[in-house]
């Protein structure tokens, strides 16, 4: 039996391309290096073929064909930029502008708007409409979303997101013809839904805007840095949009293995803490009765001496599931070096998972931190309640070495660590519970460093630094690994890749993974591997 060929070969703008059977012309054109303009089509939604912007010429077809739903066929000759295709698209673009207010100067989308882009690329230089435009005004859709009906291009992406992906029919088209407008069902709106922020992302123009972001920044003033959402263990891929060294908003970044194109409202809205001020900026060393700020070199040499001195009495540590694998592995290495005491961490749990029905492998997980899994794999133990408090009695009264990494100890009293022979605190913010610390060392947050998180399913994902770390703060892994290296006379890992390699020496599932080989989709650990000698 001969296999039926699973591919078709066609010609697009003179270039031959071979694509799997069933591929649409739009996707085939992308293969051929052509982006066909489109609005209603979105990779994550059904294709209603209604904007009519992606029309292309297909030899032999009586009419221009919508490339988003027309399947590529063997031997087809397609022209995306023929006179006919360009004329039709120019027509569609002019039709959009008949009613579009062109209020770009006050529109939040300006600079990243596909109506601007397409019209600049292919539209007429001057609009011919002299008629008054239709006026709808602004509507509050509830939740974080405002609707500017005048700007709407009626692509229905937002309606389809709510009905197909969130599967909670909150939006619809009302009226018809050029009176069509998107609306909510009476007063219900988007309030109380959990994924509605995505409608703002997929709106190709400035019709749907985020109340939170409104008038905060112009698109062209933002830098975009790829990151991983720190707000639950799903690990949605995101971009951090930053201006003036402050995160202005979080946007989902495509990863079909984790979050497709989406992120939840909880994760999206929960970024202010990343910008929190009152940071620790210099190493603080308590000597005698007073605390002194000093440079890293001095602080570290004193610290090393302190650790050596106190090492006989056992070591206990508190970690944080907001720390990267690199930080946690360095902590594990340090604790092991000094006799291998227990490392605990505290982590908040939500009551329920919030599953995205149309893409059910994505959920806002109960575990509201990005790297609990990494801590577990490195042999750390979760303690305390679902509100991430308590559980530190054993550490608070410990008489040996106490190391706290990243947990701000907000619920702990001022006597925390008073019994310790040596109490070292590494974090971004100080508080009452750091009062007894012999060393308070400023460390960078995930947003300020490069590194990885391990999500709930064991997927290791990289993030890049989006912000400058304040003052003298440094990645915790650099500080902790330096101490280990001093003691072992080994080499100090100077890159995130080298710091990640430490995890492989500390936990089997990380062994054999290489930092540079973790691609844009992340890489899943093999939990069955254990380190030889274990």
């Amino acid at each position: 039996m001969a296999d039926t060929p699973a591919t078709v070969t066609l010609t697009i703008d003179g270039r031959e391309v071979t694509v799997p059977k069933g591929t649409t012309l739009l996707k085939a054109a992308t293969e051929a290096g052509k982006d066909v303009p489109h609005y209603c089509y979105h990779d994550g939604l059904s294709s209603p073929a209604q904007c009519r912007l992606c029309l292309v010429e297909v030899e032999g077809a009586p009419k221009p064909m919508p490339s988003c739903v027309t399947q590529a066929m063997d031997g087809q000759v397609v022209r995306t930029e023929s006179e006919l295709a360009l004329d039709m698209r120019k027509g569609v673009l002019e039709f959009y502008l008949v009613n579009h207010p062109l209020d770009c100067p006050i529109c939040d989308m300006s600079g990243e708007c596909n109506l601007q882009n397409y019209v600049h690329e292919e539209g007429r230089e001057h609009g011919r409409s002299r008629e008054p435009k239709r006026v709808f005004g602004r509507d509050d859709f509830g939740g974080d979303v405002l609707y500017y009906g005048d700007r709407c291009v009626m692509c229905t992406r937002c309606v389809r997101f709510m009905s197909e992906v969130e599967q909670d029919h909150r939006l619809t088209v009302v009226e018809r013809g050029s009176r069509s407008v998107i609306d909510t069902f009476f007063e219900e709106g988007l309030e109380g839904t959990h994924w509605h922020g995505n409608v703002v992302d997929i709106c190709p123009v400035g019709a749907l805007v985020s109340k939170d972001f409104l008038y905060k920044a112009r698109a062209w003033d933002l830098t975009h840095t790829p990151g991983v959402c720190p707000n639950c263990s799903q690990g949605c891929n995101i971009d951090l949009h930053v201006r003036d060294n402050l995160v202005q908003r979080l946007k989902p970044r495509e990863n079909l293995e984790v979050n497709a194109f989406w992120m939840c409202d909880y994760g999206r809205g929960n970024y202010e803490w990343i910008n929190r001020g009152d940071r620790l900026e210099a190493p603080l060393v308590r000597e005698g009765g007073s605390t002194r700020a000093m440079g890293w070199k001095d602080a570290l040499s004193r610290l090393l001496a302190g650790v050596e001195g106190a090492s006989g009495k056992g070591i206990r540590a508190v970690a944080s599931p907001f720390s990267s694998n690199e930080d946690l592995a360095a902590l594990r290495a340090l604790v092991d070096e000094f006799g291998g005491g227990e490392i605990v961490y505290r982590s908040a749990r939500a009551e329920d998972e919030i599953v995205l029905k149309g893409f059910p492998t994505l959920a806002r997980r109960r575990d509201l931190a990005p790297n609990g899994k990494g801590a577990d794999l490195l042999g750390m133990k979760r303690v305390g309640g679902d509100d991430a408090t308590g559980g530190l009695e054993g550490v608070a009264g410990h008489g040996g070495i106490v190391i706290v990494l990243g947990d701000a100890l907000a619920d702990q009293g001022a006597d925390f660590g008073s019994a310790a022979a040596l109490y070292v605190y590494l974090g971004g913010h100080g508080g009452p519970a750091t009062a007894n610390a012999h060393f308070v060392l400023p460390t960078a947050t995930f947003a300020e460093t490069e590194g990885t998180f391990t999500n709930f399913e064991g997927r290791v994902q990289r993030f890049a630094p989006a912000l400058d770390a304040p003052g003298a703060s440094r990645p915790a892994w650099l500080v902790l690994n330096a101490l280990v290296a001093e003691r072992t006379q080994g080499e100090v890992p100077r890159t995130a890749a080298a710091a990640f390699a430490v995890a492989g020496t500390k936990a089997g599932p990380f062994a054999g993974m290489r930092y540079d080989e973790i691609g844009p989709r992340g890489a899943v650990v093999n939990e069955t591997v254990s380190l030889s000698g274990d």
Partner: protein
């Protein structure tokens, strides 16, 4: 009996009982030979019925003129899923008023046609989708259907034949676009009445996702006659390509507007002058729209044509649903065209950008020209827009809006120019 107007040149097959209030009663219908065709069809079997209808040459009366028997033969022969027959009684095309009359005077004729159509395509359920504004019509139909059920002409084991067919009457919400076949399906299913992208075609994926055939009221009303008398009998009227009789809805500036059933191929000028008693007030004929508002306009000089699908096409327009709109010398073409385009703008479902924005923009430009504030470039813009609105959308409503604009600019440019250059209206009506 003089149903508003009748003419001795008519061949009244479907409209025979127009004006007879007794005809809508089931007993009268049966006395006059009703429901015999259904019985006969059930005995013939579905394939023989399809062959008979094919041989009659009957073409769809909903506008496109697609051969009915051929359409039926697209349906799967061995159903694995439910099949549906939909009867399109959404009649909303400006100038069209035949389906309403067929239903209110002779509802059983339609019900019998629906039974035969459903049987032929192997459907056990049929829906008659009535235009939202057809209150009285729908009441008459629903009453007739109730009677037919009570007498065993519809439902389980019809007339002891073992055939089960249910018919449901559905009243729409009142939107022209719901007459488009796939919008009708969406509306029937309880969704927004928006046309679907084709393919898939209804014979594969139709109402409720099942194989579906949709036919116009007049198409189905002709079927019992064809089954009773044979395809050859039906072909005694009309032309090779346009067989049978057809209801012509004549409106506008004639002395006797109304519904007239005539053999296809009937001369348009005879329809106006003879059947309809001529142009009103002895005025001169200016223009005719021969097939409902969606087709190109004909000038008086072009009206010397035969009213068959091919004849009207040769003259440069389309027969559509044979709604003949007659305009005399007092007609203001720009105003008439604006009103039609305004209708399409109002009725556009709004999915497709060219249609949604184009129809509304055209209306505003035409309105401005009418008000004497037009410019000659506006005509170029209108023609270019029509080009970009034609063949670029999901359904043909968009094309329909462009057709009268382009044809009127081509044929009556002087009327536009009189308004643009001198602010003079050529007509008053």
């Amino acid at each position: 009996m003089a149903y508003p107007y009748v003419s001795d040149r008519e061949v009244r097959v479907l409209s025979r009982y127009f004006g007879d209030p007794m005809a809508r009663r089931v007993d009268t219908y049966v006395e006059r030979g009703g429901y015999q065709a259904a019985k006969k069809a059930f005995e013939m079997g579905p394939d023989a019925v399809i062959e008979e209808v094919k041989s009659s040459g009957l073409r769809g009366r909903g506008g496109a003129g697609f051969p009915t028997g051929v359409k039926w033969s697209f349906m799967p022969k061995e159903p694995t899923r439910p099949h549906y027959l939909l009867c399109n009684a959404d009649e909303s095309e400006p100038g069209t008023f035949k389906d309403r009359e067929l239903i209110r005077w002779d509802p059983h004729q339609l019900i019998e046609g629906v039974l035969i159509g459903a049987f032929a395509i192997r459907a056990k359920q049929a829906y008659i989708y009535c235009r939202g504004e057809f209150f009285e019509t729908t009441q008459v139909l629903a009453r007739a259907l109730e009677d037919a059920y009570a007498k065993g002409y519809v439902g389980k084991n019809i007339q002891g034949s073992g055939v089960d067919i249910d018919i449901t009457v559905h009243l729409g919400g009142g939107a022209y676009i719901c007459g488009e076949e796939t919008a009708l399906m969406n509306s029937l299913e309880g969704r927004r009445g928006t046309p679907r992208v084709k393919p898939p075609f209804p014979a594969a994926v139709g109402a409720f996702g099942m194989p579906t055939t949709i036919n116009n009221v007049e198409t189905l009303a002709a079927v019992p006659h064809i089954v009773n008398n044979g395809g050859a009998w039906y072909r005694q009227w009309g032309t090779e390509k346009s067989s049978g009789t057809k209801l012509f809805c004549v409106s506008g500036h004639v002395n006797k507007p109304g519904n007239y059933e005539l053999p296809l191929g009937f001369p348009l000028m005879d329809l106006i002058n003879d059947v309809c008693g001529g142009v009103r007030d002895g005025n001169k004929l200016k223009a005719v729209i021969p097939g409902g508002s969606s087709v190109p306009i004909l000038t008086a000089a072009e009206c010397d044509c035969a009213l068959s699908y091919e004849g009207v096409q040769e003259a440069g327009s389309m027969l559509g649903c044979a709604s003949v709109i007659v305009m005399d010398e007092t007609a203001d073409i720009v105003k008439q065209v604006r009103r039609m385009v305004q209708f399409y703008a109002h009725e556009s479902c709004g999915q497709c950008t060219p249609c949604r924005e184009g129809t509304a923009w055209m209306t505003r430009i035409l309105r401005r020209i009418e008000d004497g504030r037009g410019a000659e470039e506006d005509l170029d813009t209108l023609v270019e827009m029509s080009r970009q609105m034609t063949g670029t959308t999901i359904c043909v409503l968009s094309d329909s809006a462009g057709a009268p604009v382009v044809s009127s600019i081509n044929k009556f440019k002087d009327e536009y120019l009189a308004l643009i250059r001198r602010g003079e209206r050529v007509g008053v009506a």
